[in-house]
């Protein structure tokens, strides 16, 4: 959202004469980039957690199968 607001303001600055808000797009731009990176970080973390969970689940499943094989 920050990136979008920044872009809209950028258009405003170049094509409309808005002297008062001349440099405000940078504020939204940096906020936008920050949150974009943060959301990627969160996504990466959640993917890692999911992978670990799946790996653990697979291991558990395998060990259960091994135990069953022993009983058989």
């Amino acid at each position: 959202m920050g990136l979008t607001v920044s872009d809209l303001l950028l258009f405003g600055i170049y094509f409309v004469d808005l002297d008062k808000f001349k440099y405000i797009d940078n504020v939204f731009y940096s906020v936008g980039l920050y949150f974009l990176l943060r959301s990627y970080m969160k996504h990466k973390k959640s993917v890692k957690k999911k992978e670990i969970k799946e790996r653990l689940f697979d291991k558990k499943d395998q060990s259960e199968r091994d135990t069953l094989d022993v009983y058989r």
Partner: protein, 174 residues
């Protein structure tokens, strides 16, 4: 120091610089923008692996856009800026839409989306009039509209994305 803390500190410093540049013209706006995207690109390079190429591509393209923004006068540079920006926005739209499964939309939703598009298209046409005053080139106009509409689509997809995940967030509490 934790990577997350470092990122927050750097972002805060950039934000202070950006706010300061509103009052005092310490650094030229375009250079500040280029520096901002450059620093975030460095952080992105640290985060992303070759597996998530699209995420890194967005930061790289935005950095290149800002580089072109410094030399904004020539027509080729302006066209290049729009093309790169269109690519970066398209990737962001693709990444957002990939996460959203088909959302349930009511009549009010459709009406508000239409209203949103109508108002923003009007703004886009208004901006195009100013754009037309300085540059009279059909290709650039086309790029300008594509870029503008893609930004609108990105806003809408971000809106649906936040609705979906906000609902998920609420569900986890209920």
């Amino acid at each position: 120091m934790n990577f997350k803390t470092l990122l927050s500190i750097v972002a805060a410093v950039i934000l202070i610089f950006s706010l300061a540049s509103l009052q005092f013209e310490i650094i030229a706006n375009q250079w500040l923008r280029l520096g901002t995207s450059g620093i975030f690109l460095l952080f992105a390079l640290k985060i992303f692996t070759s597996r998530n190429f699209y995420g890194l591509a967005v930061f790289l393209l935005l950095f290149l856009c800002d580089l072109l923004l410094v030399f904004w006068e020539s027509l080729i540079i302006i066209a290049g800026y729009y093309v790169l920006h269109i690519f970066s926005i398209s990737i962001l739209v693709f990444l957002t839409l990939r996460e959203i499964k088909v959302p349930k939309v009511s009549k009010i939703d459709i009406l508000s989306i239409l209203l949103f598009f109508l108002i923003n298209t009007l703004i886009l046409f208004l901006l195009e009039e100013y754009f037309n005053q300085s540059i009279d080139n059909n290709w650039l106009r086309l790029l300008f509209y594509t870029n503008g509409f893609l930004i609108l689509i990105l806003v809408l997809s971000a809106f649906f994305y936040s609705i979906r995940f906000a609902k998920m967030f609420l569900h986890s509490f209920l």
